[in-house]
């Protein structure tokens, strides 16, 4: 009997997806694949945002304008991102519900890790928590900037060559002059780091690429990637805040 002739049991996960993604292995495969893509996006996002560190608003607004003028490509990218985030998040929620179903009566004594080969830690056990926080942040972030004040509200700037563009830089600078906003952004980046810390290693395991000999090193690498992303994103609001205070 070949594998293709044996039926896949489409028992869990998103029912619109191909059969593979509705099995336990496939569900995590989907999480891993979307996770890789999302980390890729976040890295690009961070690199682009580093233009905010330039002494004037020019480079950042130019970068933003370039992205804005991609036309259909931009829409495609946005739809793609929504799909990626949507799949990653929905799948994650369904996984969590599955876990609840798999253990209807929970332990009376809070479970304690036995250490050793376990990667049970605050990051790994709270992916749904860090993920949920990131989701709320994501909504806030999009509302603030993607759908925030634009040309019609007077946020205009002239780029080199006289092109009129949205002054996103000003919006950002204004936003981060508010200490509460800085605190929200800094806080969220810590959860991003935590999410990526476990997610990075987990991805290798879910894709079936893990070798025991590399396991510890990759977990450590996950921490580094998480930290780099966190520090990168955390630096921006802080720098901008202190600039607004004239430091």
């Amino acid at each position: 009997m070949s594998a293709s002739s044996s039926k896949l049991s489409a028992s869990r996960g998103l029912s619109i997806l191909p059969a593979l993604f509705r099995t336990s292995v496939g569900q995590k495969l989907l999480t891993a694949l979307t996770g890789v893509a999302l980390v890729g996006f976040i890295v690009m996002h961070l690199l682009g945002n580093l233009t905010l560190l330039a002494p004037d608003a020019g480079p950042f607004n130019l970068y933003a304008h370039k992205l804005d003028s991609l036309g259909p490509l931009k829409i495609l990218a946005e739809v793609g991102l929504v799909a990626l985030f949507g799949l990653h998040i929905l799948n994650g929620i369904l996984l969590k519900l599955d876990h609840k179903r798999a253990r209807p009566v929970s332990y009376g004594y809070a479970p304690k890790s036995k250490g050793g080969p376990s990667y049970s830690n605050a990051s790994s056990r709270n992916m749904i928590v860090s993920g949920s926080i990131l989701l709320f942040f994501l909504i806030l972030h999009i509302v603030q900037f993607r759908f925030g004040p634009s040309l019609s509200e007077g946020y205009t700037t002239l780029l080199d060559g006289g092109v009129e563009a949205r002054d996103l830089h000003r919006l950002i600078v204004e936003t981060f002059s508010n200490p509460a906003m800085v605190a929200i952004y800094v806080g969220t980046t810590l959860f991003l780091g935590s999410h990526v810390r476990h997610g990075f290693w987990s991805m290798f395991q879910s894709l079936g690429l893990m070798k025991q000999s590399r396991s510890r090193a990759l977990y450590a690498a996950g921490l580094v990637v998480g930290l780099v992303l966190a520090v990168g994103f955390l630096a921006l609001p802080i720098v901008l805040y202190f600039r607004s205070q004239g430091v």
Partner: protein, 246 residues
């Protein structure tokens, strides 16, 4: 030594259970955990109380019958042993010890600390074997197996099917158990012809039994009395993905 016990008591699968408190003041540090429970039971029987039911058989860590959660840890605090190999010297005098059964939808409680783990049998039944007949085989040395493969396969094959992996998993996933058998057979030349069907059928059976999903936390491997490495799960996933794409 003295011990304060809080033990899950549940008369049968249909009734609600609850923790009951007992104390013992003459526990020897050289007793195994199960001998301590035997000792408690003798006392309970004499006091007219029904003894605590728990599964155990070989009492040397190989049959996989025993297994309880002790203070939040599957098979207790010691790494690499089953409950029967845990000795009371690892507890402090006067300690409070909370004992619970494995908890998973796929492991319904039978009574007190006894659970039904037949789901594991059904996972094996779905394909955890080489479909070979009795007799008619070539000489055993006609099939060479590189030593490192045989050793690694053996490491996976040492799984005792106790259920600690699913019990310790925050998601009640049976991935380590399932992966151990799949990885054992997929390392052996004898396991090759059915490799794809095996992984697909066993994983599907695991899903159908109502176990949770592996989120790569690794507590299973830490709780495993045989310390089966997490790599087994990665190997199972790789096999599964490849088989599904064929």
């Amino acid at each position: 030594m003295k011990l304060n016990l809080e033990i899950w008591r549940q008369k049968n699968p249909k009734t609600q259970g609850e923790f009951k408190k007992y104390s013992l003041d003459d526990v020897s540090p050289n007793m195994s955990f199960l001998e301590m429970l035997d000792h408690l039971n003798e006392k309970l029987i004499r006091d007219g109380i029904e003894p605590v039911e728990f599964d155990s058989d070989c009492r040397e860590g190989i049959c996989g019958s025993c297994g309880v959660i002790i203070n939040g840890q599957a098979h207790g605090p010691k790494v690499g042993v089953a409950t029967c190999q845990l000795y009371m010297r690892h507890f402090e005098d006067g300690a409070t010890v909370v004992v619970e059964p494995w908890r998973a939808k796929a492991f319904p409680v039978v009574k007190d600390l006894v659970v039904n783990r037949s789901a594991y049998d059904r996972i094996i039944q779905a394909g955890g074997y080489v479909s070979t007949k009795t007799g008619g085989h070539p000489d055993a040395n006609a099939i060479l197996v590189p030593k490192q493969d045989a050793d690694k396969a053996f490491e996976y094959a040492t799984c005792i099917g106790c259920g600690a992996c699913a019990a310790a998993c925050p998601n009640a996933s049976a991935s380590l158990f399932t992966a151990a058998k799949i990885s054992h057979l997929s390392l052996m030349p004898q396991g090759q012809p059915e490799k794809d069907a095996r992984v697909v059928n066993m994983v599907n059976q695991m899903d159908m039994e109502g176990f949770g999903n592996c989120s790569n936390i690794g507590e299973c491997s830490a709780a495993c009395p045989k310390q089966i490495p997490l790599e087994a799960i990665a190997s199972m996933k790789s096999d599964y993905i490849k088989a599904s794409l064929k």
